[in-house]
Symmetry: C2
Subunit: 393 residues, 2 copies
Amino acid sequence: MNHFSFYSPTKVIFGKGVADQIGTETKAWGGTKVLIHYGGGSVVRSGLLDRVKKSLDESGIAHVELGGAVPNPRLGLVYEGIDLCRKEGVDFILGIGGGSAIDSAKAIAIGVPFEGDVWDIYLNKVKETDALPHANIITLAATGTETSSSSVITNEEGWLKRGHNSPFNRPRFTLMDPELLYTLPPYQTACGIVDIMMHTMDRYFSHGGTNEVTDRIAEVILRTTIQYGKICMEDPENYEARSEVMWAGSLSHNHLTGLGLPGDWAPHQIEHELGGMFDVAHGAGLSAIWNSWASYVYDADPMRFARFGVNVWGLDMNWQDPSVTAREAIRCTVDFFHSIGMPVTTTELLGRETTEEEMQELAVKSTYFGARKLGNMKVLEEKDILEIYRNAR
Amino acid sequence: MNHFSFYSPTKVIFGKGVADQIGTETKAWGGTKVLIHYGGGSVVRSGLLDRVKKSLDESGIAHVELGGAVPNPRLGLVYEGIDLCRKEGVDFILGIGGGSAIDSAKAIAIGVPFEGDVWDIYLNKVKETDALPHANIITLAATGTETSSSSVITNEEGWLKRGHNSPFNRPRFTLMDPELLYTLPPYQTACGIVDIMMHTMDRYFSHGGTNEVTDRIAEVILRTTIQYGKICMEDPENYEARSEVMWAGSLSHNHLTGLGLPGDWAPHQIEHELGGMFDVAHGAGLSAIWNSWASYVYDADPMRFARFGVNVWGLDMNWQDPSVTAREAIRCTVDFFHSIGMPVTTTELLGRETTEEEMQELAVKSTYFGARKLGNMKVLEEKDILEIYRNAR
């Protein structure tokens, strides 16, 4: 088990109706004037926004609002939120909705006390030293951002998508009510299932030595997400299934499943550029490129993929040739993605083949224009990444 | 999955040599003058105390010392620590050593700003509203107190042992170095293994409904502790084995393994009185009464014990009669405790049979003199508890 550091201070309150605790919790954490940041109309239509405002009013907490966060949340809206908070004297940020609303709430929280351009923090040019406290109500089981240290923002100029990891991104609290997921469209539920699996798999598939507590927890998260994810697709108002997947989603990305492992993360980084260029849902982008990535790298450590097959998919081990089990495990994963309606090629994702020119642009952007290589299972250069985009068509 | 709240904000730094980071970490968390609280001579003999003082000196942090914490840590020493901190103007507490040093460090941290008698907090007569910040270096894989919200103190007057759970008990950080466990006597290693298992099992054995993420993580913690615990006994300087058990120990008691379940806790509460009366090691007390407890309650939910047998001990399920698998699982657990040198009866624990008078006193103390019942798997009154003490001989 390699050296690690684990810090996940977010308080989780989980269960039916917990959204109505937002006033008392915000007050307990010291908020007096909050920004309510949300996405599209579903938070309004479901009545959640009204419940939030009522709860804040009852606790005597003033509030201003900013809607409009979209998937692959935009830098422009972050700037708008920062200006609004400064003008209104906001001291606490609430992200209400899916991953996008919460990721941009985090960016706003960091941006308010920061004197320079918050985008420079996402470009790793400078580090923040402070942030407003923030918290959230998550209406999706997917990104894990409700407790994670990360936030991903897209700059509309050049459609660059960049992630930022920082202890300041950790929310003070999150209110998780599985009933809020009942009305999700099936496509979003499926994207979330892929996202949870990929947060776990991008940590799991790396060369890390003996690491059994971490590896076995990762396998539990995957098995449970697959088992109950299927039930969520068939029976969207099944509370038990929504609960299991929602809690698995948080644990998949609070870093518990990666402790003592370096992680790979190439699939995420390869997808980020797809999402930035084509504005596709993150989970769908991940499932569209995973087969190509896994098939390209598995021979670097067939035993790791074979273990995944045995412990996650319940395969019988081929002791003569673990590569057979490894390939079978990849096939099971791809078949599962397909079975919940997710694309497994970029052609399925986009409705057309990517052009050679597009793929070359995606590959060079993935390497930050030659500044980095990707991955740990197999270290990938631009030519490898291009090949993965090609095989993903 | 029932409603739950999860708050585990302690920062964990894990790996070889991390103890030397105590100066920089304490400084980062705002400590300027610390109390170093430790137990017996092993922290001195191993050179750890000198390393701690050197690291604090290098970070310019003033320090005073208080040694002498013993297993089942005493209230008298807690009072002494509170007085010392007030006199010296200490603003940060460091517990260095096993569970006892850390539990009494927590009691001191709560006691310093508290105007009344800190024991009243342990008696649930009054609640604290503040505490000094505290952190620790743990030299045992056992109690989980390095990240947990609990602390257990024994009052020498009447030998009452009482636990206190509070968010103020959560340490700011913990430094976990598996190498510090190499020199533990085998008996202490074994007691720790039992303690880790029991923190998990006392949460696991309860009627909680569907709760797969939690249940499966609990099973992982148990399997890994059993597998690598054996290796720790045979090869005390095996870094991988010490790592796995040490990290499992923290996760067993930060409450991850009990989310959405009410927990049972009767074995802990039954043991607490044994520990208070006979001053035995907590892990040894737990293993001495577990067989009697499990045999008394398993028929309330044989499927739960059968699942434990299949998923933790790798037993084949008896589909005709799950009670058979349940009893086999209890037998496997007892045999394992024996195999690592732990007592499985109170007679083995104490070297003599408990008297009827002693058992009656233990039973009435367990119920807080009639004020409570114990357990969830089966709710236990004084007569049941007496029977469990009798069967444990």
